[in-house]
Structures are given as structure tokens and as C-alpha cells.
């Protein structure tokens, strides 16, 4: 007697996501896009001020190896009322370190619906789409959408000015000793 062939329903493509909060609003991000999560207190000593930054949502940068990442205030990016951020997401393959209020939970997303073309604004670059979890709609953010090329160019100029100032301060400090 032959055993009946076992037929398995194909697994729908799923993705692990992190649900996080920014000013009372919940967003999702693919966990694969997040390289590291640190507490704000933890990075406070490592962050460098960018006084010349003309990008309101970026006031600090941080060195990670040979790269400079820009710390983006997620609340200001989305036009929300800023609240004290508790965590920083270092986003993979971007130059963004994202300030968020906190993590809600991890979840599995089985369906991502593209944003309707009725949405015409900047949100088209902010989000990969929308997902429904527990009868709630959650926007799934696009990691590359936090800083545009134009913004990165401005931030690099601000970073250069900050670095020049720091070197000048160090040099004058060494000379006075």
C-alpha cells in the first residue's frame, strides 16, 4: 500500500517586521533593514553636533567605522509632534540612524499593499506600502526614504564644517598647551 502523497499548501511569502512608535503613531520596518538598535543614552557621547545643518530633522551625526550616519528625528520627518526619543535604529545600507520613541513588538507581515495612487505626496517615498495586522492598518516605512540625495549633499557640507571646526579647536588646544 502506498502512502498518499502529502500535498502542502505553498507558504505565502512573509517578512519579519518591527513595529515601532513615533509620537503615538505606529509604523513598521522590515527587521532585515535594521542593523542595530541602541538606546539614545548609549550613543549620546558618540554623537557629533551639526550646527550648520539646514535639515531640521537632522541635528547630529555619528561615526560607525569609516562611515558617517546622520541621526534623523522620525517625528520631524513625518511632520509629527516630537517627543523624547528613546531608541536609535541603525538602518542597513543607508546613512540613516533613526530616532524613535520605542518598539511595540515584532510581527510577521504576510501581505504588503502598495500605496494607492490617490496618495500623491512625499509619502510615496516614505512608505513601501501598507499592511494590515490584527485589523489595524500600519504603514511600512522605506529605509531609503528618510534622506534624499539633496539632503545628504547638504548634510555632508554641514559635516565637513563641523569636522573642520573640531580640527581647528584641537589644533588651537594643542598649541596653547
Amino acid at each position: 500500500m502506498q502512502a498518499a502523497a502529502v500535498t502542502r499548501a505553498p507558504h505565502p511569502r512573509t517578512e519579519q517586521i518591527i513595529l515601532f512608535r513615533v509620537s503615538g503613531q505606529t509604523f513598521a520596518i522590515s527587521s532585515a533593514s535594521v542593523q542595530e538598535v541602541r538606546s539614545v543614552d548609549n550613543i549620546a557621547g558618540m554623537a557629533q553636533d551639526l550646527p550648520d545643518s539646514t535639515i531640521r530633522k537632522v541635528r547630529h551625526s555619528i561615526r560607525r567605522g569609516d562611515r558617517t550616519l546622520y541621526i534623523v528625528n522620525a517625528a520631524l520627518h513625518f511632520g509629527l509632534q516630537p517627543q523624547p526619543a528613546a531608541l536609535v535604529f541603525f538602518l542597513r545600507r543607508t546613512r540613516t540612524a533613526l530616532l524613535v520613541d520605542g518598539i511595540e513588538k515584532m510581527a510577521t507581515m504576510s501581505r504588503l499593499q502598495a500605496l494607492s495612487l490617490a496618495f500623491q505626496g512625499e509619502e510615496r517615498s516614505w512608505y513601501r506600502g501598507l499592511t494590515a495586522l490584527d485589523q489595524t492598518v500600519i504603514p511600512v516605512v522605506q529605509p531609503e526614504g528618510f534622506l534624499s540625495l539633496a539632503e545628504l549633499t547638504l548634510l555632508e557640507a554641514a559635516q565637513l564644517a563641523a569636522d573642520t571646526r573640531a580640527i581647528a579647536a584641537q589644533t588651537s588646544g594643542a598649541q596653547s598647551q
Binding site: L80, S116, A118, Q120, G121, V137, L149, E151
Partner: protein
Amino acid sequence: MTVATAATAVETAPSFVLLRLGERRFAVAASEVAELVAPSRIFRFPHKSPAIEGVILRRGRMIPISDIADRLNAKKLATRRFFLLATRQFGAQLDWVAIPVSGECELVSTDMMESGANDSPHVAGWLSHGGEVIEVLRLSVLTPGPAELAPVRTDSPARDAAPLLADPELKEALS
């Protein structure tokens, strides 16, 4: 023979859905209407499309809501009895848009008089029903998509910085 002719006439008359937005009644081509549903929870999230209020979840599908009464009557609806789910063809993509309405909707079959040069762009035509002359709405004007508006960026912002240069602050900083 007479009966057959009458039946043919009824079949060929275009159908419209009459909807109430506050004090006024409007019509939409029935071919553009998918469903009439009870109002449900509106999910809001940050975005920059002023015509869109949020989305509703309907059978696993997330549908944007557009309160067109705001533009037609210059005020938002005080009461929302239903959401009229209209179909919108955005290029190759068929999408739905939920339009809040304040009263019952009615399906009528009647001939439409085409709009004239002096009519607003949102008026597709006029129809006469129950002693009333009713505007037939052109949804492509009231709920515009990429084809009806200036081109928008759909790719990564890192590859297309041009729209950001419209920001005076950035423009000034770059110059």
C-alpha cells in the same frame, strides 16, 4: 414589437448612482461605483496628500478615503451614513476610493446631457431626475491620480532629488 423596442431603450440608457452630500445631490456613473458600505474605522497615518483623509480596511484591502464634499460644498460632511466605494483607473492600475456620503444612494437609468465649456472641470454632465437637475461628477478631477496631476516621483528619493528643490529652504541652502 413595441415591447421589444422599449426594452432595448431601457437597456441602452446609461445608469447613474445618485448620492447625497449634505444639502445637495450629485450623480456618478454606475460603472464607476463598486459598492456602498457602512462607515468603518478610519486609519490615519502621516502623509502629504490633502485630499486623502486616511484609509479604511475592507475585506483585507486598504482603501483611501476622499471627502469630496469638502471641495463641492466648501465644507466637510457633518454626518456620514455610508462610504461609496468608487473605482478609479490610475493608468494600468485599478484602485478604489471611498467617498463619504450623507444619505441613501439611488440607482437611476437616464440620459445625460454632456457638460459645456462653462461648466467646472469636475462636471461630466447633467441629468434630470425627479424635477431636479443633478451634476454628474467626473471622479478623475475630484480624486486625481498621477495622470491628472504633475508627475510625481515613484522611485527612491535618493535617485530623484528634483521635487525637493521646490522646498525654498533647501533651494536657498543649495544655492
